[in-house]
């Protein structure tokens, strides 16, 4: 019995380990056209609808490309062609709706609709550009940024 119990525990931990090692999904790609990638620790992966994103992913689109993402707090972003968006920090407590969402638009065009994080805590969502920091109090808006030098 003990041996079987031990084996079961081993099997369980084998199932659990990869899940524990994976970082939590902060959002999902809903649409992607053209060449769209996520970069993380120097590794680039092509993005398709249904793919999950995690904190510290940088989203990159090439010419004639676009991507739409819905985040865990129901905030939404889309990126147009030749754009780079760094998802620096995303924390969301689905019980209290408290959280932080910080990203940087390094270049390109971005459309944003804020979600529950901002509804709970105005300005807890920020978008940095080379020129300015945008604090979101709850709205839909668009941004274009020139390329960072």
């Amino acid at each position: 019995m003990n041996r079987i119990g031990g084996l079961a525990l081993l099997l369980l931990s084998a199932i659990w380990m990869p899940a524990a090692a994976q970082e939590a999904s902060i959002g999902k790609v809903k649409n992607a056209s053209g060449a769209v990638f996520a970069e993380r620790d120097g590794v680039r992966r092509a993005l398709q609808p249904g793919d999950n994103l995690t904190q510290n992913d940088t989203i990159v689109t090439q010419a004639n490309s676009a991507v739409g993402i819905t985040f865990a707090d129901n905030s939404m972003m889309s990126l147009g062609s030749d754009s780079v968006l760094a998802l620096d920090r995303f924390q969301f407590d689905s019980t209290t709706n408290e959280g932080r969402f910080s990203s940087r638009l390094l270049k390109g065009t971005l459309a944003v609709k804020s979600g529950k994080i901002v509804q709970q805590t105005p300005e807890a969502m920020t978008i940095g550009t080379k020129a300015a920091l945008l604090g979101v109090r709850g709205t839909e808006f668009v941004v274009r940024a020139e390329e960072s030098q």
Binding site: K28, V29, K30, N31, S33, P49, G50, A66, V67, G68, I69, T70, A72, N74, M76, S78, L79, G80, S81, S83, S94, T95, T96, N97, T109, L110, A111, K113, S114, V118, E123, G128, T129, K130, A131, A132, L133, L134, G135, V136, R137, G138, T139, E140, F141, V142, V143, R144, A145, E146
Partner: protein, 201 residues
Amino acid sequence: MKALKLIPILALGVFLTACESLKPNVVVVLPEQNGHVGAVVVTPAVGGSATVLDKPYAAVHADAGGKPEAVAMDQAKVDKVFGQVLAARPIPPKSFLLYFQEGSDELTAESKPIFEQVFAEIARRPAADMVVIGHTDRVGNLLDNDNLALKRAGSMRDALVRRGVAADVIAIAGRGEREPLVATADGIAESRNRRVEISVR
């Protein structure tokens, strides 16, 4: 000789067009579907006072190293400059409210057809995922209600999975008594607050 004279005029034309359509750094607040307009606070990277944009199509042009300047924007200009990125916006999440028979995880008769509508919504969306959020009334303490809310959400997730929705596209959350549909004093039983919200996105 004639061709030479034309060159500066052509160059000026290109320059003006570039300025008109290509302010390199610009932020524009859009009107929302429900008429509500929030605000974006623009703080220059070089420091200095922040500009609050809180009207539809309020916009600033912010150059690195400069103070944000107001820019006149309207729907036509936004469509011209941002048309491509706006077309890529995801479909906004849609919420469904389901109510439970008292003291059970069985849906009320009225809520059963709503549950069916959820499947139609999932089918309509590319790469659909959903969050199932449990809510309680204000009978009992906060912690117990958090647990009850999560239990209600879990039972609806199980129902979705039994009907063929992949478990890995369903997240559950329990909001407890924090978000009542009908405001009540603490300790009051209110059936309209004993609900689960399924947000399909």
